[in-house]
Amino acid sequence: MASAMLSFASAPASLSVHENLKGKAKIGSANFRSSVPERNPFAKTKHFGRVSMSVAVNVSRFEGITMAPPDPILGVSEAFKADTDERKLNLGVGAYRTEELQPYVLKVVKKAENLMLERGENKEYLPIEGLVAFNKATAELLFGADNPVIKQQRVATVQGLSGTGSLRLAAALIERYFPGAKVLISSPTWGNHKNIFNDARVPWSEYRYYDPKTVGLDFEGMIADIKDAPEGSFILLHGCAHNPTGIDPTPEQWEKIADVIQKKNHIPFFDVAYQGFASGSLDADAGSVRLFAARGMELLVAQSYSKNLGLYAERIGAINVVCSTADAATRVKSQLKRLARPMYSNPPVHGAKIVANIVSDPALFNEWKAEMEMMAGRIKNVRQKLYDSLSAKDKSGKDWSFILKQIGMFSFTGLSKTQSENMTNKWHVYMTKDGRISLAGLNLAKCEDLADAIVDSYHNVS
């Protein structure tokens, strides 16, 4: 059906056929095969050329459109919902769950929303670049308020639609101002990264990252691939808590990564979706970004408040571009606005106000830090229990300690596609096919059952 689709989409042949039909009655699109059953009187007819019929359009103009496959990550939750087995466990999407496996709205977020309502704030359009107070707060949170890049006004910050939207604005900027420049993404990386660059028409390729032999970082491969990339490439780096592997470079490794990037005049492009959520400390989790900024490098950083403030559905994040001068930052910001305006005009206010209110109030800010430490702490506890259960149940002597070494919401189990499918089909454990599990969706009570499932899938399924 692909060829029929393409000929439909590319138009010229069907149009000229169409012009020939002037005077006779027309059909919407003459050049493809109808797949509509009974209602369409021509369903049984194959037509790849001209069609003659005497009645006006009965066929949809969108007839040839195929059903798209479900999103591999978000589709997992949909499948989980449909499962009626009481043992089912959703380790698919990365949304934090409490020990009772319930969604969690931070107390500090509820306080902020109540405050906002009491104050009776209006709902006027934000500027294209978003809420000014939010942009200031988010850049300071990321770099530290005393950071020279902030003091020298060298950061262009534009509020974006969480991480995805911020990455997309950056991609659009790259496409327009660095035509032909490539983005290098880690192998593996978050499934949506390639979609973002594809839709933004930015070429991309992969750098080695995950080493299945060690279930750790392929550092040599990573450095070699970054070195090999054409000069001036954009290198997409996960600031902390790499998704999907949970494997982060050490501080020493970050220095070496920065060395090779500087040498090749590449531009670092950070995706920071877990600041504070990985280790529990906002400053520690910003270490990699700050290391690069301290070297005087120009860089891009996409931020998200989905996980660390539990604001998933409010779509709040930012794109930051650190430039070597304040003037460049002003110009870059103006061009980011020019990309946002034809996409959605200006960003949503609600999530931005929540963040701004929390960060600007010392009491709320401290409460936030405490709740974040609690969330990160629960995940660390779950990692420990899972590791203990695996070590106890797996008699093969396999080393499962990578579970403890990995950080953040996700763990790359090392399970293959078929093994992951076994997890779902036999054990009703929902996860993505790359072997990623979300520890945020696990609780202490279910660690033993999960360990059973993993041991079975790893050893008994090829």
Binding site: R39, I65, E124, A313, R331, R341, Y344, P348
Partner: protein
Amino acid sequence: MADSVFHHVVRAPEDPILGVTVAYNKDTSPNKLNLGVGAYRTEEGKPLVLSVVRQAEQSLVNDPSRVKEYLPIIGLAEFNKLSAKLICGADSPAIQENRVTTVQCLSGTGSLRVGGEFLARHYHERTIYIPQPTWGNHPKVFTLAGLSVKYYRYYDPATRGLDFQGLLEDLGSAPSGAVVLLHACAHNPTGVDPTVEQWEQIRQLMRSKQLLPFFDSAYQGFASGSLDADAQSVRMFVADGGECLVAQSYAKNMGLYGERVGALSIVCKTSDVAGKVESQLKLVIRPMYSNPPLHGASIVATILRDKDMYNEWTIELKAMADRIISMRHQLFEALKTRGTPGDWSHIIKQIGMFTFTGLNSEQVAFMRQEYHIYMTSDGRISMAGLSSRTVPHLADAIHAAVTRAS
């Protein structure tokens, strides 16, 4: 230190519409008046949050069971259903037959962009015809979506009304299958709408040429005060069984501007097609922002599903529309009183938030300099930004501009 990698990035000019407010904010004159962006103001010149919206928000915040989990890619299901009903009519056969796919988007702009991207990927005609003039952001939205933009005649400066002949000619000579952008009501920036009879002629012409309608509905209920009347153009096209796209915005009619709430509906021939179309819309949305924001859509769903709140909303909506109509009459009278040269009846004939004054860019600049009145350079003023108190100042400025400036 090495030169910036961004050294070649030039400074972009301010957005022509939103830039008006930027300039207004910088002005220190106590008499300044912002008639730029289309955001409703009360008689006291203040932004308005509808009382029914506050109610809805309070109930959301008070509900302990509410969570902030990711919405599905296509947004809040209940919101989508209710939005489709609002624009198509609750008893629309298209809805009953499951032929409409509706996806939550970021207000009107986001709905137009997602629809445009979808058409650029899956529709065989990649040209969209937009009216001359139209909202300043339209050409950019569609161009970046991957469509090529052409214009059809719309506004007649001689009559300050609709160039209906020109419209029919231009649509009549468009290639078969081309996409045509239609303002459902309260055309922006002119305020000039086709009559019902003219809409019927447009519909027949478009259907005979298989032109694909893409409605921009940003003012349902806000134009005439009646939700049904303002949806009539869309419903005519949906009722004939054909296909169309509709972008809806709740920015103005629910005053939810900054929450970015809207919806894109695609009315298809069959429910099977609608299902496939929906799946492809997800592929457009996911790499753009993954899933839409929750807050605004929840407010809308809360109001639309509750009979009492819905009724309250219609009352508040009519009050806004009535206040704007009254500003039109006041301005018209004020110009008459001053004996301002020219025919100003278009002020009361045009509908919706905006008036296309017919002032040229020199006159607009004059009014900004001498009278601190801010509007877009095409002479469009937002009636929603006027009050009884400020009408005289505006009338004075127009009078001066017309008699003194070219």
